[in-house]
């Protein structure tokens, strides 16, 4: 391989255009005659739409149309759907309430769209949207999921009695109860997981262009999975058949899950383009992003863990209420079930686990997958109760974890997952050494001399990436398969295009995917172009989320490369009159082993396309495609150790040290992996210390701007100390596990464990704001805090 192959710190090819402002985002796209959309949104969390009067708006300058939900339904545009069927424990299917892209009857969260204005300019559209008069009759609202389940709570959807979407369970309840009955020690606690707003740097956007003559739509949009968007828009929303709908996701500025889904606005732009006969563009402003991008997390759980006399865990029992907001977003149902409860075994050998999950409608923005999706909630729960238990039984938290680690693989947990590989002691050892865990006491004493409370906390996380195989997820209710496809096209002059169904929106695929090719053929990454994000170019793909692009997307590329290499070697053997088995690929050349015969890569490619001299029966050209369906999830795991200093006067937490020891399996580009971990840790620290989507009682989002929603900034995080411990994933050809979400999954409990250690009070919710910490400190040490 050359210097650009697997394992090399290749600088990102895409960064030149990003850092010079030459990226091409949806809002950079224009189409002749384009109009601009502005949505009329509900100011109420729950209200009847009694009437919509658009007459004044229609008379305003530049206004092309004012469209409402009544027209949308009349035109046969389908309801938004949730594509993962979950059944309650009594066997009944989940209760999906009707979700229309423009609501004609009852709005169920603040910001829900009831009408759209299309005008010549954005300013005209916004002026006119304000002039649309909507007569609402307010209804009582409920924003808290536990409150929404109580008798007499406002009823949000007629389909879901008491707002209960499903009452689901996993695990052997009888075995768990028996273990608790004979437990030597039981720790129980209430654990909340705060609601977050994804906040991708680029807000959602769409440009829809309907070609009347061809009855064909083109949609440029901010999607993590353009083919899935096309499939859903076509098969469920009746926009157009797939061959009459092209979805292009050009450069996309971050997703974190929020751009997996098809939202009302993108659908409405398509429909409005046909209705008005002109291209329609919409770009969310930041307020719209806060109000309408799918939120993340929002769990309330009761957790109990049982130990035997040797401090070995015998059972875990969890009851969780998950808030799904006002509607069931595209994959919302899977997040608090198969992406959450299946990870409750953590890194530990737990013989029996039972988890009951109730998901609930509330008058809030819909909740769906957000970086980690279920796994952060599971990890937070497991690692908080592990820490708490260790403190209760007076055992060192590291030793308590170590005692219960899974050490043999494969390991079948009681909650579906079969862990394929790992070495949890290795990452714990590496992290403890790097954190100088043994000498924490001296650092705590030194901090105390400066009036600071120092604490240390750890988190031994596990997560599951590359959700698969398709047959298995299908049996669990998924409406799609979760494989990936790729095509490797060698051009006649030897440059290479890789078409992938993965989608890059910050991950650096244009570099790492090219490294696979460089590694295989010894060519430079500059001769490789990665093509993605366009349903007209790439045959099909499932997109990028759940840290799947490496383990699944790259594996498809590897399979296609295998085919290309096999054909090229056959051709090379023919041209050099050698045996196929003697052909090796080195430094961009095909060589006959043990001789000085060689054919440069470009010459071989040209030979394949001139086809003047091919082996008998070989087709011309050099292009191969592959589909790859994994055999299992992958299981990244690791240990994070966080050290904090709390200012007892203000309650402010400073993270003074953060060590992350991750096992991501094989790594293609360590620099890009580190970037993923930096981002993930920062988001996790944001959840732990700063971020919270807060609603008031009436259902107004009171953190709807950066004045109130606290995003992590550079000075909120330390310089991270990163390392990897590698065990190869046996489930895919590269041995990769995935790295995109681990930081966000593993870090929140490490931070909270450290703060609670510092302040001597285990009662602390996220985000651990200075006031919360100050109050917890007062409760724990009234004399000191009152000083």
């Amino acid at each position: 391989m050359g210097v650009d192959g697997i394992g090399a710190r290749v600088k990102r090819k895409e960064d030149r255009r990003f850092i010079t402002g030459k990226g091409r985002y949806t809002d950079d796209m224009t189409a002749p005659g384009m109009g601009f959309a502005a949505f009329v949104r509900s100011p109420h969390a729950h209200a009847k739409v009694k009437s919509i009067d658009a007459s004044a708006a229609l008379d305003m300058p530049g206004v092309e149309a004012v469209l409402t939900g009544e027209q949308l339904v009349g035109d046969g545009v389908g309801n938004l759907i949730c594509g993962w069927m979950i059944h309650s424990k009594d066997g009944t299917p989940m209760k999906m309430g009707a979700w229309r892209a423009l609501e004609p009857e009852i709005v169920r969260h603040v910001g829900q769209a009831v009408a759209v204005v299309v005008a010549d300019t954005l300013a005209q559209a916004r002026d006119a949207a304000e002039a649309v008069v909507v007569d609402y009759e307010e209804l009582p609202a409920v924003v808290d999921a536990v409150a929404a389940l109580e008798p007499g709570a406002p009823q949000i959807h007629p389909e879901a009695e008491n707002n209960l979407i499903y009452d689901w369970e996993i695990g052997d309840e009888a075995a768990v109860n028996a273990a608790f009955d004979s437990a030597k020690h039981v720790t129980s606690m209430e654990i909340s997981n705060n609601r977050l707003v994804p906040n991708a740097m680029e807000p959602r956007a769409a440009l829809a262009d309907y070609d009347e003559a061809e009855e064909h739509y083109t949609l440029w949009t901010t999607s993590q999975n353009p083919h899935v968007a096309r499939l859903v828009l076509s098969a469920f929303y009746n926009i157009a058949p797939e061959h009459k709908l092209r979805v292009i996701a050009p450069d996309v500025g971050g997703g974190f899950g929020s751009k997996i889904y098809v939202y009302p606005e993108e659908m409405v732009c398509l429909w409005a383009s046909k209705r008005t006969g002109r291209p329609v563009k919409w770009v969310a402003d930041r307020t719209e992003a806060f109000l309408t991008d799918a939120h993340g997390r929002d769990h309330k759980s009761h957790a109990e863990i049982a130990l035997d006399e040797n401090n070995r865990i015998t059972a875990l029992r969890v009851k969780t209420v998950a808030n799904l907001g006002a509607y069931m977003s595209l994959f919302s149902s899977s997040v608090p079930t198969y992406l959450y409860a299946t990870l409750l075994s953590g890194q530990y050998d737990i013989p029996a686990i039972h988890c009951n999950v109730k998901t609930v409608y509330t008058n809030t923005t819909p909740v769906d997958a957000y970086r980690g999706a279920g796994r952060p909630e599971a990890t937070f729960l497991v690692e908080r109760i592990m820490e708490t238990t260790a403190r209760e039984i007076g055992m060192d938290p590291a030793e308590f974890r170590r005692k219960n680690f899974i050490t043999e693989f494969p390991h079948q947990t009681p909650v579906i997952m079969c862990y394929d590989s790992g070495d949890y002691n290795a990452s714990l050892d590496a992290a403890m050494k790097a954190a100088d865990y043994a000498n924490f006491g001296a650092r705590k004493a030194e901090a105390a001399s400066r009036g600071k409370l120092r604490g240390i906390g750890m988190s031994c996380y596990i997560e599951a990436c590359g959700i698969a195989p398709s047959q298995a997820v299908g049996s669990l209710g998924a409406g799609v398969g979760l494989w990936e496809s790729a095509e490797v096209r060698v051009n006649p002059v030897g440059t290479i295009e890789v078409l992938t169904g993965s989608h890059s929106h910050g991950q650096g695929h244009e570099t790492t995917f090219a490294q696979l090719v460089a590694d295989r053929f010894g060519v430079g990454t500059d001769t490789v172009q990665i093509v993605h994000g366009d349903t007209d170019k790439v045959q099909f793909g499932m997109g990028t989320y759940g840290s799947r692009s490496g383990a699944v997307g790259m594996s498809a590329v590897v399979k296609a490369l295998d085919k290309v290499e096999a054909k090229a070697k056959k051709l090379a053997a023919h041209l050099m009159e050698a045996s196929e088995g003697d052909i090796v690929v080195e430094g961009g050349e095909f060589k006959v082993a043990g001789t000085d015969k060689s054919t440069p890569f470009f010459q071989l490619a040209l030979a394949a396309y001139t086809a003047h001299n091919m082996p008998e029966g070989m087709e011309p050209g050099l292009k191969e495609g592959a589909f790859y369906d994994p055999t299992n999830f992958t299981f990244p795991a690791g240990t994070y150790i966080c050290e904090v200093e709390v200012d007892p006067d203000t309650g402010k937490t400073e993270i003074v040290s953060f060590v992350a020891a991750d096992d991501f399996g094989k790594i293609i580009n360590p620099m890009i992996v580190e970037g993923q971990v930096h981002g993930g840790l920062t988001q996790g620290i944001g959840q732990a210390l700063l971020e919270n989507a807060a609603y008031d009682e009436s259902g107004q989002l009171i953190t709807a701007s950066y004045m109130d929603y606290c995003m992590p900034r550079a000075d909120d995080v330390p310089s991270f100390n990163l390392m990897t411990t590698e065990t190869i994933c046996p489930g895919n050809p590269l041995g990769m596990k995935g790295c995109g979400e681990a930081g966000a999954i593993g870090s929140p409990p490490a931070v909270i464990n450290a703060i609670t250690d510092a302040i001597g009070n285990n009662e602390l919710e996220m985000p651990a704001t200075p006031e919360r910490v100050w109050r917890a400190l007062q409760a724990a040490q009234p004399a000191q805090a009152a000083e």
Partner: protein
């Protein structure tokens, strides 16, 4: 943003004339509050008068009495970086250097900040803490008289702030606890011993009525300038702001903590 008429007068007289012409007019100083408000369609002035190109409102000079005169259109970055301010009132330079972020500091102005009188802004603390004098196109008034309540000042509708004059204190410091999200002040305390020996403790960010003085702290510090002297002084939580970032209780605590830190920092 709604449509508006933009004016760029070159003289104070022209600005005042434009201001007198309409009720729905806004002065644009640095625009760090006005422009976001207009973009969110929460303000709809028919006319905006940009004050940033009037020479009379610019410049930082040493005032006759050994203090500093700062033109109303001087940016926070200019104050933070001014050799004159750093030499004569370093606490004021460092306060200006902590306002918002670099973008805000290069656009926002002292005149705009004090005329807006956001209760979480930093400058009101310095003006009251240093007993500054506000000069307008019509008169002069003390900072104590200028700030009258939340987003309220003594300015008449046709009055324009032209400068602020700060006397140089014997010692002073500003200690700020920023809101984690917005980085505005949640409790900022400006503590100063002025040249005449008088003590001032001004609090911004925390009070329901905007900037306020803590006379009990001022008295305690008069006889003993040390953090210990005010350790036991608490402001009434009932007078404090309360929001999702900090309850009134918490803000009251922060006032005490920041006051001690300001006194310690002033030396």
């Amino acid at each position: 943003m709604y449509e508006t008429n933009y004016h760029r007068p070159k003289t104070l007289a022209d600005a005042a004339a434009l201001l007198a012409k309409s009720d729905e007019v806004k002065l644009l100083a640095g625009g760090q509050t006005l422009l976001p408000t207009m973009k969110q369609r929460l303000a709809a002035p028919t006319d905006v008068i940009d004050l940033r190109h009037i020479d009379d409102l610019k410049g930082i000079t040493e005032s006759g009495s050994g203090g500093v005169r700062i033109g109303a259109a001087v940016t926070h970055a200019e104050v933070a970086g001014s050799e004159t301010v750093r030499r004569l009132i370093p606490a004021l330079a460092s306060l200006a250097g902590e306002i918002g972020d670099p973008h805000v500091r290069h656009m926002g102005t002292i005149g705009g900040s004090i005329a807006n009188n956001d209760p979480a802004a930093d400058y009101p603390g310095a003006l009251v803490g240093l007993n500054a004098t506000v000069t307008t196109n019509k008169r002069e008034m003390s900072a104590d008289d200028f700030f009258t309540g939340l987003f309220e000042t003594a300015l008449e509708p046709d009055e324009i702030v032209t400068a602020v004059t700060f006397p140089a204190p014997e010692k002073a410091a500003y200690a700020k606890y920023p809101n984690p999200a917005s980085r505005y002040s949640m409790a900022g305390v400006f503590a100063a011993r002025l040249a005449d020996g008088s003590i001032r403790v001004a609090v911004t960010g925390a009070g329901q009525g905007g900037v306020f003085r803590v006379s009990e702290m001022e008295q305690a510090l008069s006889s003993n300038w040390s953090p210990d002297a005010i350790a036991g002084v608490k402001v009434a939580a009932g007078d404090m702001l309360s929001d999702i970032h900090g309850s009134a209780d918490y803000r009251a605590n922060l006032v005490s903590v920041m006051a001690k830190r300001a006194v310690a920092a002033a030396g």
